[in-house]
Symmetry: C2
DNA sequence: AATGAGCATTGCACATGATGCAACGTGGCA
DNA sequence: TGCCACGTTGCATCATGTGCAATGCTCATT
């Protein structure tokens, strides 16, 4: 829609891949160097782009700050966090919180069992849609039609022999998840990792987020992880309750 | 320089503060609503902005992903992290890693204290320049002239009675830090928090980052924190060594 | 139900501001 | 020293972004 802004924004993913010189940027955008220069300067003024000593450009500081602030303004996250910590303390395993946004599922919080929260370790990175337990929970809440369209548009990479192989299997699984109100990933993404996930729902009953507990199966066998399910679901429900308790803007009757 | 891009980018910090409607955005930019709409649409196409159900706009998923990628491309951070973790395991306190970038100092990594008392800081947030130990370390490496200019352009907020009161004191302190190769913040930012920081240097001897250990003085008295100094410096030096060992692109003779 | 207020959205004519060009400056390398 | 590659600047052109006014939409009020 807006050419200048569009071009300017194209620079960001380019720089994300690594430091880039003016010439490369111009070429990538298909514009004259002087144009690229002006765009980069503007990005620079906003702190989104940083010029390192060899005159090449990198993504800049403000970007981190923005992402961080945006993160903190997510209400679910704020409400959920103490619950996640408590769950982590109770069971000792890694706990994730994820949301669905425009065809992507991404982690917005994480409490790790061994190391304290590493802000950017995985948070913000899109999740493998076809196998992750949180993705199954979130996508299973979509209306039938959307689920089908989405499932058919996806790739089904075989991370492991247990990965969901094709759209039909995925849709079947989503239906089951929708029915039972929870999901698992038993070695579908990484051979040795199992997860259980449960939905967090808003006042209107729609799923607004999903949380999961992940364990390496060498430490915790599958049935032992499944024994945690009630605890996970109880935690998710507690968050749901608190979240719908004070709806941010309006009620749904 | 580039008006359209400039306006578009002004939207991001605005949305970072919380969900915002079209009208507000337009007003904030001082442009017509239709203009704001086109900007938001373009931002939306790039995934930087997300439209929530109540039609207000929030920062979007791609921003997290970008920040994530940018973060990973910071070599220092990658190299330093395991050292920070090890230091945290050794002493149990909060460890920070920070860099200097265009007049700002910001945390790029953090390993939380294992004690329940945690200090409030966040990755990506600019640091209080005049008092933080990491800021002193980083700024002390600037050339004399720049240091002076910078120091005189700063505000000197009195967070506590121990905060650096004015430019003269700050410059004096920076000189001392430069000389001794480490810095402290003894209750200058928050009354009850003390820090020690040390520089991480590149192959050419210039400071590329700074790391610090922070402790609440109720848990650790000052002299006990200072006793940690050798360990902190050793860690910083280890990181420096590893960092200069394999320079990413080219050597400096 | 009906009404209206508040908001987002669309099409259009105008001129502002983004663009590419060509000339200039600069630093590194042989 | 001279060359080459790259970043930088000023300027004339017109593509693009802009504000306006009119339309559509959703909700709250009567």
């Amino acid at each position: 829609m807006s050419q200048t802004l569009d071009r300017g924004l194209q620079v960001l993913p380019l720089l994300a891949q690594g430091p880039t010189g003016l010439g490369e940027v111009a070429e990538h955008l298909g514009v004259h160097k002087s144009t690229a220069l002006r765009l980069l300067r503007t990005l620079h003024e906003h702190g989104l782009v940083y010029r390192q000593s060899d005159q090449r450009y990198r993504l800049g500081a403000r970007l981190f700050a923005l992402a961080q602030e945006a993160m903190e303004s997510l209400d679910v996250r704020e409400i959920a966090h103490p619950h996640l910590v408590r769950l982590n303390e109770a069971c000792g395993h890694t706990v994730h919180l994820a949301v669905h946004e425009e065809g992507e599922v991404l982690y917005i919080d994480k409490v790790d069992s061994r190391y304290p929260v590493r802000m950017y370790s995985r948070i913000g990175k899109p999740v493998a849609l076809t196998v992750a337990a949180v993705a199954k929970v979130l996508l299973s809440d979509l209306p039938e039609a959307e689920r089908r369209t989405l499932a058919e548009g996806l790739d089904y990479p075989l991370y492991t022999p247990r990965s969901t192989p094709h759209a039909a299997a995925f849709l079947k699984e989503l239906a089951a998840v929708r029915e039972q109100g929870w999901a698992t990933d038993l070695g579908g993404h990484e051979e040795s990792i199992n997860c259980v996930a449960a939905p967090i729902r808003g006042a209107d009953g729609r799923t607004v987020a999903a949380m999961s507990v992940s364990t390496p199966h060498v430490v915790v066998p599958r049935d032992e992880l499944l024994a945690l399910l009630p605890l996970v679901r109880r935690t998710a429900d507690a968050i749901s309750g608190e979240f719908s308790g004070r709806p941010p803007t309006k009620d749904t009757p």
